[in-house]
Amino acid sequence: MAAGSVPSAIIKHQSRTPYRSHMANTKRYWSGLDELRETEAFKTIQGQEFPEAQSVDEFLTDERLESTHTGRRDFLKFMGFGLTAATLAACETPVVKSIPYTNKPEEVTPGVANHYASTYYDGHDFVNVLVKTREGRPIFIKSNTETGYGRVNARVNASVISLYDSARLDGPQIGGEASDWATVDAAVSNVMQGEGRKVLLTNTVLSPSALRAIAQSGLEHIQYDAIDYGAFRAAAEADFGVNSFPSYRLEEAEAVVTIGADFLGSFADNVIYGERWAAMRKPESGKMSRVHAFETNMSLTGSNADHRTMVKPSEQGRVATALLAMVTGQGTAGQLSEEANKAVALAAKDLKRAGSKGLVMAGANDLAMQRVVNAINAALGAVGTTVSYDEMTLFQGSSSSLKQLTSDMTAGAVEVLIIADCNPAYDAPNAAAFAKALSAMKHTVSTSTVADETASLCKVIAPTHHWLESWGDLQIEADRIDLVQPTISPLHNTRPWGESLVRWSGVNQDWYTYVRSTHASDYTSDAMYTNAAWNKAVHNGFIGVDVMPGQAVTFAGTGTSQAISELNGRKGGAVELALYQKTTMGAGQHAANPMLQETPDPLTKVTWDNYVTMAHSDVDAMGLNGFIGQEKPASLVKVTVAGTSMELPVFPMPGQAPGTIGIALGYGRGGNGENIGKAAFQTGENGSFETDSDGKPTPVGKNVFPWTAQSGDFTDYSQYDVTVEATGETYPLACTQIQNTFMGRESIVKETDFSSYFAERDAKKGKASWNELITLAVHEDVTGDGAIDAQDGKPTSAFDLWHEHPVEEVGHRWGMTIDLTSCTGCSACVTACHIENNVPVVGKDEVRRHRDMHWMRIDRFFASDYSLERGEEEGTSVIGSYRKMEDPSANPQTVHMPMMCQHCNHAPCETVCPVAATTHSNEGLNQMTYNRCIGTRYCANNCPYKVRRFNWFNYPGYKKFANFNPAQDSLMRMVLNPDVTVRSRGVMEKCSMCVQRIQSGKLDAKKAGTPVPDGSVVTACAEACPTHAISFGDLNDKSAGVRAISENNRAYHALEEIGVKPNIFYMTKVRNVEPNQA
């Protein structure tokens, strides 16, 4: 009971009679001093139960009541109740609804994917694809390898997300207000019948039906391309008499010289070049092409070239003339540095040796340059073998026509302008003038799917279908017409722009009927599915067309000398600018695609930004930040080109020609806050958009299209004189890789030159000098020479730290081989992996903190000039040497190395997991069981390859990710793969080798009662790889391709010496360099 020492004030007020403790009767307690003194006030209230009476009305009308808030105790009570209620509710099984079709389409079975052949074309990339749909939703795009043209790149791969972009317009608009098709049709047909000049502006139209509709409409048709290749066509016309974009046949070329043409990256018809180039890069065949690259920025092509030389944009023309002079003795060679001259001589030697199997390409959209290149190719006899002009329809756009149109519009000479499939207010060289003229016009129609920079200035928006919703036909080469077929019902009230055009011309026909009647004049809609030939064409994705064999073209040769003198006369400035396209962002059509924004640039490894790339020497000279990391932001510089300035961060880039800078196009979309999609804008740390002083959202990156130059009739992508000034400010860049070199750890990347390879090409696996088996020293006499010495090594396979998993030759053993010789680093595999496996998009801020969730990354390593040997010679300490080996050389050789979970048979991650959430399967897979994982991250710490990713946040729910994570958008989440779990916070995740595909492949085999056929199970990355560098299969299947590759003498394990026995094999990179140049 209470002891006597309790202070009187603690006794409760309500107990007006002092409480007497029966244990201490002598003591008296008062409830207060009032009671003790027996004051008047005490006496008056003594007998009342409620000391200060207050009526209910008075209480309820008391204004202070409004401001009372729940106290701590109440809060705790509510919390306790809430917790209990939630716990109890969690024990109840929630009722889940299941809604079957009322009338099920015949070909749809819930849970079974259908694939449809279709064709992707966005004005730049053209590729035949297969679209995977689940329950009527397209979720994955892959190359149609059986009948197709091209291989999907990262952009095509990720484009499936744009279908579900919530920024898409859900119906036609007039003057920014929602309208309906009848009103729009009436309005537009009306102005189309009126007087005045009526123009249709598009990118290059490849659709025969659309061209028919345009002809029928009587509109004047003007085409321009976001990236202009007009000079290529003009040069072909002048030199060969054919207005065609050249077809480069890299699979025939033994010597390739590229002057700034990034054919493995984003140059022209890149979707087909990679596969063709890789066909000539098979060292086993005894023959390998040699690529010489002369370029300004470090490009994918340059990083994969055998010889790479840095030249400024103004020097590129002189490289071409020098090459022409050395190959043919024709013309005057341009003035070049000694180093460049040597490189040109070497290239010329290879070209001459290759003869008609040589190929020269130049990236500059410059007539003189292309004519000199044509002259070299013609002199080599390459025309017809490695380069041909057979009516390829790509890139018919003319930027001079657009320029003319703009001035006509400004002058009021255009009455009606209809804009389809292009965005000139963003990507035209004279975008500002165009936008101004456009907004002043009375009758403007856009068919854009989103209210983008151009559409938002148009009076009428008649939104077209997304390509996955629409029928269509496309013709890239004369002998086939590729078909586009819808894979989903239109999500919004949209209509193909071809159909709009047809209807505005007064023909009442739907687009499907129109397309079909283009190819079958007697088509009637009753015969929708009955025509077997059409059905076969839709199934295969194309209609074959009989063509007459093309005429051989001859080189006219006039005008070369003029071109030579023009090129030789070019003067460069102190700092030159080369604009380029990233493989992820292209010309900016995909700016709102979060998956592509977060796919790192293959060379800089920077996500979510464009920036100035600058040589290390220039960075140091300007005193800018040379190292960029989480706490090391990039320096901002002010770049001034032709009078306009922009501030951009600087990324120090090995291989950038000194005295030049490079900036990527395709960024800065939605500069006026147009609603082009949430992921196109910068999101701050708290998840809301960053805004400028006007409250407009800040776009990701800066738009540098205004810095393209109009030279003559063509758009040029370089500037010869720009100024760069330091601002003293900084800007954070989100970069996924910090290490630039592998610091002499040769067990990660193995590399040799072609002649060394060739000398030992028959050596047994592990015996060749360029791929020696790594052995560990043991204290026993292995060699049997009676002495124990350094030779006494045992291969790592002889050591077992743990019990071995019985996977070799038992059951399945899923494995992968990655050929570093043909891997270009293009990142198509990265996006494919992430879309297949629902890898979350985490945004720039999280990437900056190295919390990117990428299951697959491509490590890009630059070579260093320094080595331990050199350090020894120079007397540098070992540590010092290693430190110097961190710095790449000024013009380094580059290795791209795809890295994902190696599925080690002696996996270090498995042994440290306290809850056995990561375990090994008897098929060689390192399995990750999310529902068991408690997130200790021991496994990630113990992984030698650093491929495990910790899921830090509730990405599908937390507001920080609301503006870009696909799972947070009710529409965009439709793209998630239902066969793969969407992981939640607090678990570790990593590459599963697409175990969902393995399981379904095994099931198919079991149902068929046959062994799993080689090639029937393939991971997303292997499927996407355009150069076939990645192979996947069952290593225990004696007939499997992947097994044969793993037994090749070039095959090795990364970090073999640690003995973790991976199921992924890399193939030694072979570079076809001159032996003395290696």
Partner: protein, 468 residues
């Protein structure tokens, strides 16, 4: 849209092949068929509408068809494969069939069966199993008349609890009265009054006085509570017996048992997909185009599917979006509200279960996991004890102990289920790989210690089998 899988093309070719062989096989359509094969085919394709007796289900009974058939055998084949096509032949007998049955029952769905299949079916139809066992089987069925009107939920324990509380209150009140009376008596007698302490104090005092007994009893209750609590926690996530009410009062027993509709007639995607699926409404319509009235609920429940798909039972035709009547097939323009069923078997999202794997490859019977659905009214999660009792009825059924739809249940079965390595080319290849090398032999010996190879031994216990 044309599926890239080429399914349509494949089917066309198949049909063409079938038509080619039709003439050869037709000659002896009524003879030499395989009765057993016919029974399987009949159950899979025909039994949902036809009976082998004279009884009319959703279409005429087929007893005596051989004697009745008045057209050529070729036309019978065509009539089954493409009824509308056969009607166009202008044959009188066919026309009489069309006039007589189509207005009531609608057109028969074209059946993808070959002439040989038809021969087998006809063999079965002519030699149906003995009538007596059929009648017996029929009597096993839970007929609708046996069904309780409403589900009586178990409320006994609630009543018991309420009574207990009431009893306690009365007991305490009585004790109070007793006490007052005692005090009154004592006051009268001039004795000391009973000490007036609150209940709490008195209970505490009593507890202290009887501490040994109270501790013993307390410990018992504590242990009992712990056991109950543990069991309760073990039931968290266990959904055995889950039987949600459904928007349509669909009765499995009527369809499966009385009318002998095969499970895979409605849940056919169990054979093609990971989902068994709830049948789409157009599948219901295959029979309910004709069966317009149920025995128990009359027209009200069937009307719900008519509403969903747009069917007018009076005219026997479908309606389109604009309300136009007279279509013979469901119209996509009709904007009906699909039926929102309550999902019965809910697996967590991180579990990937494939029906196809179990039914097609594993050869499991539906009853192995779902129990004897033909005795159910609404679908429910079968209890493992109930399933175990079916072992006599369905030989090959695997008896398990863990609650259904728990991971313990899954892996217990994977540990028991055997794989016959000679059963298919896939397993033969796996067997070869095991036999052909030393390490494999060692593994195989370990597998064969219990003289059988279980699913577990070939990877059935591996996490990535179901979780990815």
């Amino acid at each position: 849209m044309v599926a890239y899988t080429g399914f349509r093309a494949f089917r066309n070719i198949l049909t063409a092949c079938l038509l080619l062989t039709a003439t050869q096989a037709a000659a002896d359509i009524w003879e030499e068929g395989d009765i057993e094969a016919g029974q399987a085919l009949f159950n899979a394709n025909c039994a949902s509408c036809h009976k082998v007796t004279n009884e009319v289900l959703a279409a005429p009974g087929l007893a005596g068809i051989a004697d009745r058939w008045g057209a050529t055998d070729e036309l019978l084949i065509q009539w089954i494969q493409n009824p509308q096509g056969a009607a166009e032949s202008g044959d009188k007998y066919i026309k009489s069939l069309v006039d007589r049955y189509v207005p009531t029952y609608g057109w028969m769905t074209a059946q993808a069966v070959s002439p040989d299949d038809i021969k087998n079916i006809m063999a079965y139809v002519q030699n149906p199993p003995d009538a007596a066992p059929v009648a017996d089987a029929g009597s096993d069925c839970v007929t609708v008349d046996d069904l309780p009107i409403a589900d009586t939920s178990d409320t006994r324990s609630t009543w018991f609890l309420m009574l207990l509380v009431l009893f306690l209150i009365i007991a305490m009140a009585a004790a109070g009265v007793n006490r007052s009376l005692t005090n009154a008596a004592r006051e009268k007698d001039g004795d000391d009054l009973l000490e007036d302490a609150p209940y709490g104090v008195r209970i505490r005092n009593w507890t202290w006085d009887n501490r040994v007994a109270v501790s013993l009893i307390g410990m018992f209750f504590l242990a009992y509570g712990a056991v109950l609590g543990y069991q309760g926690l073990m039931r968290v996530g266990v959904v055995e017996g889950y039987k949600p009410n459904q928007p349509v009062k669909f009765i499995h027993s009527v369809h499966v048992c009385e009318n002998e509709v095969d499970c895979k007639y409605c849940h056919h995607s169990a054979y093609e997909s990971k989902h068994a699926g709830i049948p789409s409404t157009n599948v219901c319509m295959n029979c309910h185009k004709a069966v317009k009235k149920g025995r128990r609920y009359g027209e009200t429940e069937i009307a719900k599917i008519y509403d969903a798909i747009g069917f007018d039972p009076t005219s026997g035709t479908y309606v389109d979006g604009s309300g136009k009547n007279g279509y013979t097939s469901p119209q996509d323009t009709y904007d009906g509200e699909p039926i929102r069923w309550n999902k019965v078997h809910n697996l967590p999202d991180h579990v990937f279960f494939s029906h196809q794997q179990h039914v097609v490859v594993g050869g499991l019977q539906c009853q192995n996991c779902h129990g004897d659905v033909e005795t159910y009214t609404v679908g429910r999660v079968a209890e493992v004890e109930d399933i175990n009792q079916l072992v006599d009825k369905y030989p090959g059924l695997i008896e398990l102990s863990k609650p259904t739809l728990t991971m313990g249940w899954c892996i217990e079965c994977h540990n028991k289920a055997e794989i016959d390595l000679a059963s298919s080319g896939y397993y033969e290849e796996i067997h070869h790989r095991l036999k052909d090398n030393l390490r494999g032999n060692e593994e195989l010996r370990k597998y064969m210690e219990d003289d059988k190879i279980t699913v577990k031994e070939l990877g059935g216990w591996e996490c990535a089998k179901c979780h990815y």
